[in-house]
């Protein structure tokens, strides 16, 4: 039972990672940018969601508002920060991204205060759901549901829609895609939009899960997200999902059994390093 509970906990963590990492891998696949500033989008989503929920009392409204705000910010970041420096060495965009993250983290603190904000009413958070001796709170259940639904929607988008096919073509070769009349710029904006919506929704969910929205809430999950997309094989979507769940479970068991030696972040990165030393291209990445 104990193991089952740890497994379940790990999978729920994995679901939050997946929502974050999928966006990161989309962006990486297209632009070869490690988009650390996705954490900013995530945090913005959480704050907008919380403010809307606390003012209107509507959680549905909160999610919509968060998705819109995040979905707006992401493409703006692409357009005004990444696009002008795409031809520079990769660390340029990385450092720009880190700069944005640092600045915005403090921006959030100045705007909303350093203590973080809590939801005035958070019934999911206080409702325990038990089945067969296992118990989760309702937020955890919703996180799993949201992850499955959103990721399935994404899979449908990527395989069934024209835009999705264009996106996949652009990932594999932008110049060929362009010659077939695929608007690369549109695909990039769309990808940032999708990545950001996922991050924004994840932000609200994590905000609900902790019942706390704070300026620095995005950074750790964003670093882990980077670890995950590398672990999955950069730019590889199924690999990213597998790595998310795996990392969640490794952390959940690792904190119990390795907790005396290493902390949670160290366990996650140790796992990453070990995997990469054996498979330098990541779990599902193609060998070069």
């Amino acid at each position: 039972m104990f193991y089952l509970e740890l497994l379940l906990v790990g999978l729920v963590w994995g679901c939050t990672y997946a929502m974050m990492a999928l966006g990161l891998t989309l962006v990486y696949g297209l632009l070869r940018i490690l988009h650390v500033a996705q954490a900013t989008v995530f945090t913005l989503g959480a704050y907008v969601g919380l403010l809307v929920a606390n003012h209107t009392g509507s959680l549905a409204g909160a999610f919509v508002a968060a998705a819109l705000a995040a979905g707006l910010l992401g493409p703006l970041v692409y357009r005004f920060i990444y696009r002008p420096i795409l031809d520079k060495p990769p660390f340029v965009a990385l450092v720009a991204s880190i700069g944005l993250l640092i600045a915005m983290e403090d921006g959030f603190r100045l705007l909303f205060g350093p203590y973080g904000l809590s939801f005035a009413k958070n019934t999911w958070f206080t409702t325990a759901v038990g089945f067969g001796g296992l118990s989760l709170n309702l937020v955890q259940v919703w996180i799993a549901v949201a992850a499955v639904v959103l990721l399935s929607l994404f899979a449908l988008f990527a395989t069934r829609t024209r835009a999705g096919v264009a996106w996949r073509a652009t990932v594999s070769d932008p110049s060929i895609a362009e010659s077939f009349g695929v608007g690369v710029s549109g695909v990039r904006h769309t990808s940032f939009f999708i990545a950001s919506v996922l991050a924004g929704v994840a932000g609200v969910l994590v905000g609900l899960l902790n019942n706390l929205v704070e300026p620095g809430m995005g950074s750790v999950i964003s670093y882990k997200g980077l670890a995950i997309i590398v672990l999955g094989g950069l730019g590889n979507v199924p690999g990213t999902l597998l790595a998310s769940l795996l990392l969640g479970v490794v952390e959940s068991f690792g904190t119990v059994y390795l907790g005396k030696l290493l902390d949670r972040d160290a366990i996650a990165f140790l796992f990453l390093i070990l995997v990469l030393m054996i498979r330098p291209q990541g779990l599902l990445g193609k060998a070069r």
């Binding site: 379940l8 906990v9 100045l110 205060g113 902790n210």
Partner: protein, 383 residues
């Protein structure tokens, strides 16, 4: 509200800069550093508020020997490498006394500098045991972690009569010190430690700890950490079906903890120095004035910093404003000095003795539960 307070900060800083030279003749300037930016900014803000309130109250009551106090506030980002130049800057600017409203790293790094320069230095809430060991110009007005841990052991073993306890420890200096103090005396109160689980500062999700606690099946939990870990942790424990008493620390002593944990906070007990139902005048006045001034209930960080400022002011009042050695002697001679966190006395190391207040959360508010006043058990180390 935050923008307002930050612009006020800037304004204060600018005014301080503009009037530095002429004002120096009249005002007594007190150095103050805290993490205004970075990961610890929440505590930094509370610390600044506590300090500002203290200065305002003291000035309203006529200042020190007829002169007004003035805070010189600097940001250290809770980083040792920021604190060192800053300490030297305070000394270079001729400040005679400095208060730390910051964490252990920067405070410990600055402590040696102040001791060498013979500038009395009072740490408000940093927990590291070596801070006061930097030298006899260094004081601390908060409980040491070990001492607070011992108080918790007595509460659990003696008052609550729970004998099988699981520790959930924040993995930083604060959590480790609390845990060490608790374990040191647990046997004396017949407590058997079922297990200890640790977590990191950035953790907000504790699923595997909840599962482990259920497996341990203890009679009580001793949980260290700050409100931003403790809130989610307590809520997740309760949602996970853990119903035994939870005993926390002064890190939870803020209304933010209750705002996060909501109903799950009910019944949680903490060891602290702030008694909401106190009849002591300084404590009551602090709690009331703080809420009036800042429109939020007071927390422990603010109370500790407020205390540190009162200690410094009293040192200046008794020892004069010019000579570090005399200020130091005056502070170290304080006995049963009444401040917002109780009646305090310094020992030869510069550590403070005071009674531990046990507060319990009822109806969404901190209320008095018990007071542990045991000079032997709660004696801080003397060297």
């Amino acid at each position: 509200m935050s923008i307002k307070s930050s612009s006020r900060l800037i304004f204060t800083a600018l005014v301080a800069a503009a009037f530095a030279a002429p004002a120096a003749a009249q005002n007594i300037r007190i150095g103050f550093h805290a993490p205004l930016t970075g990961f610890a900014a929440a505590d930094g803000k509370s610390a600044v508020q506590g300090a500002e309130l203290a200065v305002e109250q003291i000035n309203a009551a006529g200042g020190v020997n007829g002169r007004r106090l003035e805070l010189v506030i600097q940001d250290d980002q809770a980083r040792p490498d920021q604190a060192l130049p800053l300490a030297n800057k305070f000394i270079g600017d001729g400040l005679r006394v400095v208060v730390s409203g910051s964490y252990s790293g920067p405070t410990r790094a600055a402590a040696g500098v102040f001791h060498q320069a013979k500038v009395p230095y009072v740490s408000a809430y940093a927990i590291h045991p070596d801070i006061t060991r930097a030298g006899n110009y260094v004081f601390r007005t908060s409980f040491m972690g070990e001492v607070q841990g011992r108080a918790a052991a007595k509460l659990i073993g003696d008052n609550l009569k729970k004998k099988k306890v699981t520790l959930v420890t924040l993995n930083n200096d604060f959590g480790q010190a609390l845990s060490a103090g608790f374990k040191e005396v647990a046997g004396r109160f017949g407590i058997q430690i079922a297990a200890e689980h640790t977590y990191a500062m950035g953790d907000r999700q504790f699923g595997s700890i909840v599962a482990s606690v259920k497996k341990d099946d203890p009679e009580a939990l001793y949980v260290s950490g700050y409100f931003f870990n403790g809130g989610p942790l307590v809520a997740q424990l309760r949602a996970g079906g853990v119903t035994v008493p939870i005993i926390g620390t002064e890190g939870f002593d803020t209304h933010n903890f209750i705002a996060i944990a909501k109903d799950a906070a009910e019944g949680v007990m903490i060891t602290t120095s702030l008694d909401r139902d106190s009849s002591a005048a300084p404590m009551r006045r602090f709690i009331a004035d703080f809420e009036t001034k800042f429109k939020v209930p007071a927390d422990m960080v603010a109370a500790s910093t407020h205390t540190a400022l009162y200690v410094v002011a009293e040192g200046l009042r008794r020892g004069g404003v010019d000579d570090g050695a005399r200020i130091r002697a005056a502070i170290s001679g304080l006995k049963d000095f009444e401040v917002a966190t109780g009646r305090i006395s310094f020992n030869e190391l510069g550590e403070v003795y005071k009674a531990a207040q046990i507060q319990v959360i009822r109806g969404g508010k901190f209320r008095h539960f018990a007071t542990i006043d045991d000079p032997v058990l709660l004696a801080p180390p003397t060297k």
